[in-house]
Symmetry: C2
Subunit: 113 residues, 2 copies
Protein backbone atom coordinates (compact mmCIF):
# COMPACT_ATOMS: atom_id res chain seq x y z
CA UNK A 1 0.00 0.00 0.00
CA UNK A 2 1.44 3.31 -1.12
CA UNK A 3 1.55 5.81 1.75
CA UNK A 4 1.91 8.99 -0.27
CA UNK A 5 -0.08 11.82 1.24
CA UNK A 6 -1.87 13.77 -1.48
CA UNK A 7 -1.70 17.39 -0.37
CA UNK A 8 -5.01 19.06 -0.96
CA UNK A 9 -4.35 22.34 -2.77
CA UNK A 10 -7.01 24.98 -1.89
CA UNK A 11 -7.59 25.85 -5.57
CA UNK A 12 -8.22 22.18 -6.43
CA UNK A 13 -10.52 21.77 -3.41
CA UNK A 14 -12.39 24.92 -4.49
CA UNK A 15 -12.73 23.62 -8.08
CA UNK A 16 -14.15 20.28 -6.93
CA UNK A 17 -16.46 22.20 -4.57
CA UNK A 18 -17.87 24.28 -7.45
CA UNK A 19 -18.27 21.34 -9.83
CA UNK A 20 -19.69 18.94 -7.26
CA UNK A 21 -22.96 20.79 -6.86
CA UNK A 22 -25.98 18.99 -8.25
CA UNK A 23 -26.89 20.28 -11.77
CA UNK A 24 -23.87 22.61 -12.10
CA UNK A 25 -22.12 20.34 -14.61
CA UNK A 26 -25.22 19.98 -16.75
CA UNK A 27 -25.87 23.77 -16.70
CA UNK A 28 -22.28 24.41 -17.81
CA UNK A 29 -22.62 21.72 -20.47
CA UNK A 30 -25.51 23.67 -22.00
CA UNK A 31 -23.80 27.08 -21.71
CA UNK A 32 -20.61 25.81 -23.37
CA UNK A 33 -22.70 25.62 -26.58
CA UNK A 34 -23.51 29.35 -26.33
CA UNK A 35 -25.53 31.95 -24.36
CA UNK A 36 -28.96 30.94 -23.15
CA UNK A 37 -32.05 32.60 -21.73
CA UNK A 38 -33.37 31.30 -18.43
CA UNK A 39 -36.22 29.47 -20.18
CA UNK A 40 -33.76 27.78 -22.59
CA UNK A 41 -31.81 26.43 -19.62
CA UNK A 42 -35.03 25.20 -18.05
CA UNK A 43 -35.91 23.37 -21.26
CA UNK A 44 -32.45 21.87 -21.75
CA UNK A 45 -32.01 20.67 -18.16
CA UNK A 46 -35.60 19.49 -17.70
CA UNK A 47 -35.59 17.99 -14.20
CA UNK A 48 -34.14 21.14 -12.62
CA UNK A 49 -36.57 23.49 -10.81
CA UNK A 50 -36.61 27.24 -11.58
CA UNK A 51 -35.68 27.93 -7.95
CA UNK A 52 -32.60 25.72 -8.01
CA UNK A 53 -31.59 26.96 -11.47
CA UNK A 54 -31.66 30.53 -10.08
CA UNK A 55 -29.49 29.49 -7.12
CA UNK A 56 -26.97 27.68 -9.34
CA UNK A 57 -26.72 30.61 -11.77
CA UNK A 58 -26.09 33.04 -8.89
CA UNK A 59 -23.40 30.75 -7.49
CA UNK A 60 -21.75 30.54 -10.90
CA UNK A 61 -21.96 34.34 -11.29
CA UNK A 62 -20.35 34.76 -7.86
CA UNK A 63 -17.56 32.42 -9.02
CA UNK A 64 -17.08 34.47 -12.18
CA UNK A 65 -17.90 31.45 -14.34
CA UNK A 66 -21.23 32.71 -15.72
CA UNK A 67 -22.23 36.29 -16.51
CA UNK A 68 -25.70 37.78 -16.86
CA UNK A 69 -26.12 39.83 -20.03
CA UNK A 70 -29.02 42.29 -20.35
CA UNK A 71 -30.14 42.43 -23.98
CA UNK A 72 -31.42 45.93 -24.67
CA UNK A 73 -34.05 44.94 -27.14
CA UNK A 74 -37.77 45.44 -26.50
CA UNK A 75 -38.81 43.72 -24.29
CA UNK A 76 -35.51 43.69 -22.42
CA UNK A 77 -34.27 40.12 -22.04
CA UNK A 78 -31.60 38.57 -19.87
CA UNK A 79 -29.21 35.90 -21.12
CA UNK A 80 -26.55 33.86 -19.37
CA UNK A 81 -23.18 33.17 -20.90
CA UNK A 82 -19.84 31.75 -19.80
CA UNK A 83 -17.02 34.13 -18.85
CA UNK A 84 -13.46 33.36 -19.99
CA UNK A 85 -13.02 31.43 -16.73
CA UNK A 86 -16.18 29.48 -17.52
CA UNK A 87 -15.17 28.77 -21.12
CA UNK A 88 -11.88 27.38 -19.82
CA UNK A 89 -13.91 24.52 -18.29
CA UNK A 90 -14.51 23.09 -21.78
CA UNK A 91 -11.74 20.41 -21.46
CA UNK A 92 -13.33 19.25 -18.17
CA UNK A 93 -16.79 18.96 -19.74
CA UNK A 94 -15.40 17.21 -22.83
CA UNK A 95 -13.45 14.74 -20.67
CA UNK A 96 -16.63 13.88 -18.71
CA UNK A 97 -18.55 13.42 -21.96
CA UNK A 98 -15.86 11.12 -23.40
CA UNK A 99 -15.77 9.05 -20.22
CA UNK A 100 -19.58 8.79 -20.21
CA UNK A 101 -19.58 7.43 -23.76
CA UNK A 102 -16.52 5.18 -23.46
CA UNK A 103 -17.48 3.75 -20.07
CA UNK A 104 -21.24 3.32 -20.00
CA UNK A 105 -22.40 1.94 -16.61
CA UNK A 106 -20.85 -1.41 -15.64
CA UNK A 107 -18.82 -1.83 -18.82
CA UNK A 108 -16.00 -3.71 -17.10
CA UNK A 109 -18.10 -6.17 -15.13
CA UNK A 110 -17.49 -9.75 -16.24
CA UNK A 111 -20.58 -11.89 -16.01
CA UNK A 112 -19.92 -15.52 -15.01
CA UNK A 113 -22.68 -17.98 -15.91
CA UNK B 1 -28.98 33.95 -29.56
CA UNK B 2 -28.23 30.47 -30.80
CA UNK B 3 -31.29 28.25 -30.47
CA UNK B 4 -29.58 24.87 -30.69
CA UNK B 5 -31.15 22.35 -28.37
CA UNK B 6 -28.46 20.30 -26.62
CA UNK B 7 -29.88 16.80 -26.41
CA UNK B 8 -29.18 15.34 -23.01
CA UNK B 9 -27.67 11.90 -23.52
CA UNK B 10 -28.54 9.56 -20.61
CA UNK B 11 -24.90 8.42 -20.23
CA UNK B 12 -23.71 12.03 -19.97
CA UNK B 13 -26.49 12.88 -17.51
CA UNK B 14 -25.52 9.81 -15.46
CA UNK B 15 -21.82 10.83 -15.48
CA UNK B 16 -22.60 14.35 -14.27
CA UNK B 17 -24.90 12.82 -11.64
CA UNK B 18 -22.09 10.63 -10.27
CA UNK B 19 -19.46 13.37 -10.29
CA UNK B 20 -21.72 16.09 -8.92
CA UNK B 21 -21.99 14.54 -5.46
CA UNK B 22 -20.21 16.45 -2.72
CA UNK B 23 -16.75 14.94 -1.97
CA UNK B 24 -16.86 12.36 -4.79
CA UNK B 25 -14.32 14.26 -6.90
CA UNK B 26 -11.93 14.66 -4.01
CA UNK B 27 -12.21 10.97 -3.04
CA UNK B 28 -11.46 9.95 -6.64
CA UNK B 29 -8.57 12.42 -6.73
CA UNK B 30 -6.98 10.58 -3.81
CA UNK B 31 -7.68 7.08 -5.19
CA UNK B 32 -6.18 7.95 -8.59
CA UNK B 33 -2.81 8.01 -6.78
CA UNK B 34 -3.30 4.39 -5.65
CA UNK B 35 -5.29 2.14 -3.27
CA UNK B 36 -6.14 3.53 0.14
CA UNK B 37 -7.42 2.23 3.47
CA UNK B 38 -10.49 3.93 4.91
CA UNK B 39 -8.38 5.81 7.45
CA UNK B 40 -6.04 7.09 4.68
CA UNK B 41 -9.05 8.53 2.86
CA UNK B 42 -10.25 10.15 6.07
CA UNK B 43 -6.84 11.75 6.54
CA UNK B 44 -6.51 12.92 2.95
CA UNK B 45 -10.03 14.40 2.66
CA UNK B 46 -10.09 15.89 6.17
CA UNK B 47 -13.45 17.70 6.30
CA UNK B 48 -15.38 14.59 5.25
CA UNK B 49 -17.17 12.60 8.00
CA UNK B 50 -16.72 8.82 8.30
CA UNK B 51 -20.44 8.37 7.70
CA UNK B 52 -20.45 10.32 4.45
CA UNK B 53 -17.20 8.70 3.29
CA UNK B 54 -18.87 5.28 3.77
CA UNK B 55 -21.90 6.41 1.75
CA UNK B 56 -19.75 7.81 -1.08
CA UNK B 57 -17.58 4.67 -1.26
CA UNK B 58 -20.70 2.48 -1.47
CA UNK B 59 -22.13 4.64 -4.23
CA UNK B 60 -18.85 4.43 -6.15
CA UNK B 61 -18.75 0.63 -5.64
CA UNK B 62 -22.33 0.38 -6.96
CA UNK B 63 -21.21 2.40 -10.01
CA UNK B 64 -18.27 0.04 -10.56
CA UNK B 65 -15.82 2.92 -10.14
CA UNK B 66 -14.29 1.80 -6.83
CA UNK B 67 -13.71 -1.74 -5.60
CA UNK B 68 -13.22 -2.97 -2.06
CA UNK B 69 -10.19 -5.26 -1.69
CA UNK B 70 -9.85 -7.50 1.36
CA UNK B 71 -6.16 -7.87 2.22
CA UNK B 72 -5.66 -11.32 3.74
CA UNK B 73 -2.90 -10.34 6.09
CA UNK B 74 -3.27 -10.49 9.85
CA UNK B 75 -5.23 -8.54 10.92
CA UNK B 76 -7.39 -8.58 7.78
CA UNK B 77 -7.56 -5.09 6.29
CA UNK B 78 -9.80 -3.57 3.66
CA UNK B 79 -8.54 -1.21 0.96
CA UNK B 80 -10.31 0.76 -1.72
CA UNK B 81 -9.01 1.05 -5.25
CA UNK B 82 -10.26 2.29 -8.60
CA UNK B 83 -11.62 -0.20 -11.13
CA UNK B 84 -10.72 0.20 -14.82
CA UNK B 85 -13.84 2.37 -15.18
CA UNK B 86 -12.64 4.48 -12.26
CA UNK B 87 -9.08 4.79 -13.58
CA UNK B 88 -10.53 6.02 -16.88
CA UNK B 89 -11.66 9.15 -14.99
CA UNK B 90 -8.04 10.33 -14.76
CA UNK B 91 -8.37 12.80 -17.72
CA UNK B 92 -11.41 14.35 -16.00
CA UNK B 93 -9.54 14.78 -12.71
CA UNK B 94 -6.44 16.15 -14.46
CA UNK B 95 -8.58 18.63 -16.45
CA UNK B 96 -10.20 19.89 -13.22
CA UNK B 97 -6.77 20.23 -11.58
CA UNK B 98 -5.38 22.18 -14.57
CA UNK B 99 -8.38 24.51 -14.59
CA UNK B 100 -8.06 25.05 -10.84
CA UNK B 101 -4.43 26.10 -11.22
CA UNK B 102 -4.81 28.12 -14.43
CA UNK B 103 -7.98 29.91 -13.32
CA UNK B 104 -7.73 30.64 -9.62
CA UNK B 105 -10.88 32.43 -8.35
CA UNK B 106 -11.70 35.71 -10.10
CA UNK B 107 -8.65 35.68 -12.37
CA UNK B 108 -10.43 37.45 -15.22
CA UNK B 109 -12.00 40.27 -13.21
CA UNK B 110 -10.63 43.66 -14.19
CA UNK B 111 -10.38 46.04 -11.26
CA UNK B 112 -11.11 49.66 -12.13
CA UNK B 113 -9.77 52.23 -9.66
Amino acid sequence: MQKVNVSLCPQVENAFGILSKKWTGLILNVLIAGPRHFCDLQREVPSLSARLLTIRLRELEAENIVRRVVQTQSPVRVAYELTERGKALEPVLKAIESWAHDWAPNTDVTIHN
